[in-house]
């Protein structure tokens, strides 16, 4: 059983990895800083490890999907990220792709359930 659990866990990690970018982009319509985004995702039950998220934000910025700005008006300086124009486009495309993907998968999985019920 142990090996099945291991296998399932690693497959789940792979599944989730594909959704990371989409989840992050979806939450950056308004500027967020690293930890506020961690909390926001946690609240919506889509938690991402802080150690994964912080580097991911920078990578997305490098790919010009996000733009960033240091806010030094507060007592503590924070780096805020928000979707860029390119990021918005990419987000819309990814979103529709995800929807069709999840519909396709839904059909496949439903089919399987129907068979089981036969």
């Amino acid at each position: 059983m142990e090996s099945i659990n291991d296998l399932v866990n690693s497959l789940i990690v792979e599944l989730r990895r594909g959704t990371l970018v989409l989840s992050v982009l979806s939450q950056l319509q308004k500027p967020e800083y690293g930890y506020s985004l961690v909390q926001k995702l946690e609240k919506k039950n889509a938690a991402i490890e802080a150690g994964t998220l912080y580097p991911l934000l920078r990578r997305l910025e490098k790919q010009e999907l996000l733009s960033s700005e240091w806010d030094t008006t507060e007592s503590r300086p924070r780096k805020f990220y928000v979707l860029s124009e390119k990021g918005k486009q990419v987000y819309q495309l990814l979103k529709s792709e995800w929807k069709s993907l999840s519909n396709q998968l839904e059909v496949l999985l439903m089919e399987d359930e129907d068979n089981e019920n036969d």
Partner: protein, 331 residues
């Protein structure tokens, strides 16, 4: 707060300088955000452990390749590794064998001499194989990083189309035979190993008194030492080109250009070595003069003629090889 500083330092110290400071500042502010007001040491500990090993974080930030040779090059890597280590083992065993036949350790008696030769041979082969593993891996790690398989370099990899199947017949003209490459590799290694480890074996062989074989070396072994680093470099480049030929299997413009530059380089090296009179062993020349029954003054003249003929043939061959590379790549 010292713990946070250390964590940030250790996660960012290997990052490129231009990004390091900004990442450090951001990471520090993120960590501080994760802590409650009036954080205790225990809180800091918890947060840092949640973020995990700073080395992993650093790897995520840098986004660099975390492997030496990727899946695209892996098959070529393994096949070249087998080829090169195999050739090296054969070449070194062969050289050790010749060495012990010409210069047998007779004084130590039969069984012991046999063991000595076997041990010398195994040690030499083992060291050579280890060296070649290192070099092949290094070459492939470099190839991986310059992006041979990502279409970043021109001529190397294009998107596959059915046209390539149609081109097969045309491509045959550009083909570099693997057999030829292996053959050249074998002789390059053989020649390099001989010249670098046992230059005294290239010379005039004669049977002296009590049936011992006497060798009068062609080259001045001491003088040759100054050329060894350059020669090693040439051998490395040459093997690199051969490996490239072995993988690419067809001529292309980049390969032809590198090949031509290499040929030019080796001609220049040969010219320098030929001009260096101290490189040739004087006793070898007198030996030849003695055998040909020729006065010493004339022998120098003869040697110069021979040298010129050799150089011309060599340069001619290099020019032909360079041009044929270009011609084949254009077919």
């Amino acid at each position: 707060m010292k713990m946070i500083d250390l964590y940030v330092y250790s996660a960012t110290r290997h990052l490129p300088e231009d990004a390091r400071e900004d990442i450090a500042r951001e990471l520090e502010s993120n960590i501080t955000d994760m802590l409650p007001e009036d954080a205790t040491e225990e809180d800091v500990r918890e947060v840092l452990e949640k973020l995990g090993d700073p080395a992993n974080l650093a790897a995520e930030y840098s986004g660099k390749k975390k492997y030496l040779v990727g899946p695209d090059l892996y098959d070529s890597y393994i096949s070249v590794l087998k080829l090169v280590t195999g050739l090296v083992a054969i070449v070194l065993a062969f050289i050790a064998l010749i060495g012990s036949i010409i210069n047998p350790p007779l004084e130590s008696g039969f069984p012991k001499a046999f063991v000595d030769v076997a041990v010398d041979m195994s040690v030499g082969v083992f060291q050579g194989v280890m060296q070649s593993i290192v070099w092949v891996t290094l070459i492939f790690a470099v190839l991986e990083r310059v992006g041979v398989n990502e279409g970043k370099l021109p001529y190397v990899k294009k998107k596959w189309t059915v046209d390539e199947l149609m081109d097969l017949q045309v491509k045959d003209k550009r083909k570099i035979s693997r057999g030829e490459t292996i053959f050249t590799m074998f002789f390059t290694m053989m020649f390099a190993a001989l010249l670098i480890t046992k230059p005294q074996m290239i010379g005039w062989y004669s049977v002296g008194g009590n049936d011992t074989i006497h060798i009068e070396p062609l080259l001045n072994v001491q003088r040759l030492q100054i050329y060894i680093p350059v020669m090693l470099m040439f051998v490395a480049v040459s093997l690199g080109i051969l490996v490239w030929k072995y993988i690419a299997m067809h001529w292309n413009s980049a390969l032809a250009a590198v090949n031509a530059v290499y040929n030019l380089g080796i001609c220049i090296l040969l010219y320098c070595m030929m001009q260096d009179t101290a490189l040739f062993n004087g006793s070898f020349l007198s030996k030849v003069a003695e055998l040909l029954k020729m006065p010493a003054s004339q022998i120098m003249e003869q040697v110069n003629i021979q040298k010129t003929i050799f150089a011309l043939i060599f340069i001619g061959f290099c020019i032909w090889d360079s041009i044929s590379g270009f011609v084949k790549s254009k077919k």
